[in-house]
Symmetry: C2
Subunit: 436 residues, 2 copies
């Protein structure tokens, strides 16, 4: 791959100014200069269909969000030790999307900060420190939270207070059984880890999960699949933290939050990325007794968290979602896209499985449908080929062979057609690797 | 104190939506609606001179910063896995304000995130975890960083890997000796804690401090005062982290960074609050070998960190500082303000000591100049009385008896006159507490 002189220069400057190992997407990174709706443009004026970015939830440079930021930044931006309606109006509106029990919030700047607080809330309530997470996910970048990511092990290793259970995989289920049998095995694994923690010096404080297991290639799970696991965690006195950074804010089409789709009730919900369309905003939503326990044990203040501009940006996102019925759009366009992916599966042997909900969907690429051997290297080539064709998507999952298609919420049928027309051609033309 | 119905309603909503113990400033919190330059307005149209807020560094709602945010938010806002000049131009400009050895950076959303990374950098380089901080400061709110604040002890206590040395106090120096004798005693205390950590399972990894000891009532220290302590930390193989969240960006008038004023060289510098005038931006600046060690041991990605809007806002702050010579303004107005405070000290027995540099200055209020007994409750009454007169300031330090005056950088002589005319009247009229 030969890079343009300009791109090479930017990469050189990155290495010098930002240090080594700062990853970019694609063999030939995109030098972006402009965004609008579901589109990005590079420095050469080339247009890309963005089928990947969830942070610009209501579209790149959404005018309503930009205007809200501009208006509030021109008027007032201070911390929350003065009184201001912004944070109150927003938290009221945000919590109205949850069960009545989840009625209070702490505003932060990032999802990482939100998860960092959630862990301390669980400690404040239980007096314990042990945490159980699923084994191929990511919950953020602080010292405490980065301990939860076995996919991203810090150089200092993971503390013994963190234990892992295997994330569900509907294509290759635990014990080879899918559906509710798989659910019981998952709950059993959780009980084992709870017991181990309870026997340790740490005790069991919290079970944290993405309720859609989005980083873990979003397995197809029947509603209620999580019930046994949640029951096990509750019975042991632990708190359940749902990390809704990715599935939240209507992304799944059918429900505003991932845990609602699963039909389960967490004690604490964390959120970030899409919350204010790229403005740095995150939050923890929880019950009054849990926030009271946290506020009693930990003095917490976040200078930028919940400031008037952040709340105006976040409120504009909720307004856009509602006024443009973007969750419904995710539902209908998502269903159409999934059907188109299923049609491609009929044609192309490489597609082993098609999964997703609303505007997060993908295809698991395999070398052989019988053995389900992951086509990891092929998926990488395909993603790079799509980028060369002006379609931005990525891959994820334990084997990095699952196409990750997670566009901004205003994604249309026409956008989906463009995506799949190219995908069809690439699947037809890109030579498949041989099974090992 | 009777609150207006509106303020009481906002406080009730805060308790319901944000939980208990979410502190506000003043007995009668201000319901802010508008900001401009050094001024804030409340909902009743009352104007306040802001002598406290350092986050709106180049003035509340600075038009150039607002315009930079608006322009970039309208154009593009994505994460750093694509190529974009914004972060590179900014980091180049930012690092040019440091010694040549401090040439690389990681951009974050908050100063807390920056300190959280800095601790891991020290661990990556030294392979050790023990940290020494000063005993009355604050470095941020993540699980790891909140361990460093003895002024803010988490319910779970402080880990044994964190040790403290007494922050310098030029008014009540260690061993009763000021100046360089005090510096030697401080270094000796540091050596003791280093030795204790080295004997423990943790080892000595880092010494973290605000080089101006701003939260610790900014003692008057001669240049070079920190040299012995820095030598001791270096000799023991630890890294030195200067938390420049408060003294940085020209605040001290004489130097752009607090450590430059002290004439010492840190290995890592962290920053946040004023960096982008309220837009959530922080950073860690360090040497190439340290960033390389960190990037090798820890995979770190921050979704919002270093995005084009954050960098545009931060760049506009540097532009404003430069084009309006705001560091020079801090120097001259700060010197004028300090002289006015010294004049007040001649008149008012309550002022035991006057300290500061540039646009952070204050007076230590005492019940008796001989015993130096802190006038803590009096300082609280005075701050509330000033608020009633439309002057926003606060108090800080180990005894909360030091007036904290830290206005936005465009603060003028006229602003200082208004502040001190009121302060003079309040000192004359507010009855002093009797010594105990």
């Amino acid at each position: 791959m030969t890079l343009s002189a300009k791109s090479q220069d930017l990469l050189d400057r990155r290495a010098k100014l930002l240090g080594p190992n700062v990853s970019t997407f694609y063999d030939e990174p995109i030098h972006v200069v402009k965004g609008e709706g579901v589109w990005l443009w590079d420095a050469d004026g080339r247009k890309y269909l963005d089928c990947y970015n969830n942070v610009p939830h209501v579209g790149h440079c959404n005018p309503r969000v930009v205007e809200a930021i501009h208006r509030q930044a021109s008027t007032l931006n201070v911390h929350t030790r003065y009184l201001h309606e912004g944070i109150l109006d927003y938290v009221e509106r945000l919590t109205s999307t949850f069960d009545d029990s989840l009625s209070t919030a702490i505003m932060t700047c990032t999802g990482s900060e939100a998860n960092d607080i959630a862990l301390r809330m669980a400690t404040a309530v239980t007096g314990k420190r042990g945490v159980i997470a699923t084994d191929a996910t990511y919950h953020g970048n602080t010292t405490a939270v980065s301990q939860l990511s076995r996919s991203n092990v810090p150089g200092t290793g993971i503390g013994d207070h963190v234990r892992f259970v295997p994330a569900p995989d509907s294509y290759r289920p635990l014990g080879s059984e899918g559906g509710m049998a798989h659910a019981e095995l998952f709950a059993e694994k959780l009980r084992e880890e709870i017991e181990a923690l309870e026997k340790s010096e740490y005790g069991f404080s919290a079970f944290i999960l993405c309720p859609f297991f989005l980083n873990e290639a979003f397995p197809d799970l029947p509603q209620g699949w999580l019930k046994s696991a949640f029951d096990a965690a509750r019975k042991a006195g632990g708190l359940i933290i749902c990390d809704e950074v990715q599935p939240g804010f209507g992304r799944l089409g059918s429900h505003f939050w991932g845990h609602q789709k699963q039909g389960v009730m967490p004690d604490i919900v964390t959120m970030g990325k899409p919350m204010a369309n790229g403005h740095p905003v995150g939050a923890v939503v929880t019950q009054t007794d849990i926030i009271a326990a946290f506020r009693k044990s930990f003095r917490y203040f976040n200078t930028f968290g919940g400031n008037p501009v952040s709340c105006a940006a976040a409120m504009a996102v909720l307004d856009e979602l509602q006024d443009r019925s973007l969750m419904d759009n995710a539902h209908t366009v998502g269903a159409y896209a999934k059907q188109r992916l299923l049609d491609l599966q009929e044609k192309h042997e490489q597609i082993g499985d098609v999964r997703g909900s609303g505007l997060v969907f993908g295809a698991e690429l395999v070398l052989d449908r019988g053995t389900k051997e992951p086509a990891t290297s092929y998926a990488n080539k395909l993603v790079n080929e799509m980028r060369q064709r002006g379609i931005i998507l990525s891959k994820l999952g334990r084997h990095y062979n699952m196409l990750k298609i997670r566009p901004p919420m205003p994604f249309s049928r026409e956008n989906a057609d463009l995506l799949f027309d190219h995908l069809d051609e690439v699947l037809a033309s890109l030579p498949m690797d041989a099974p090992s």
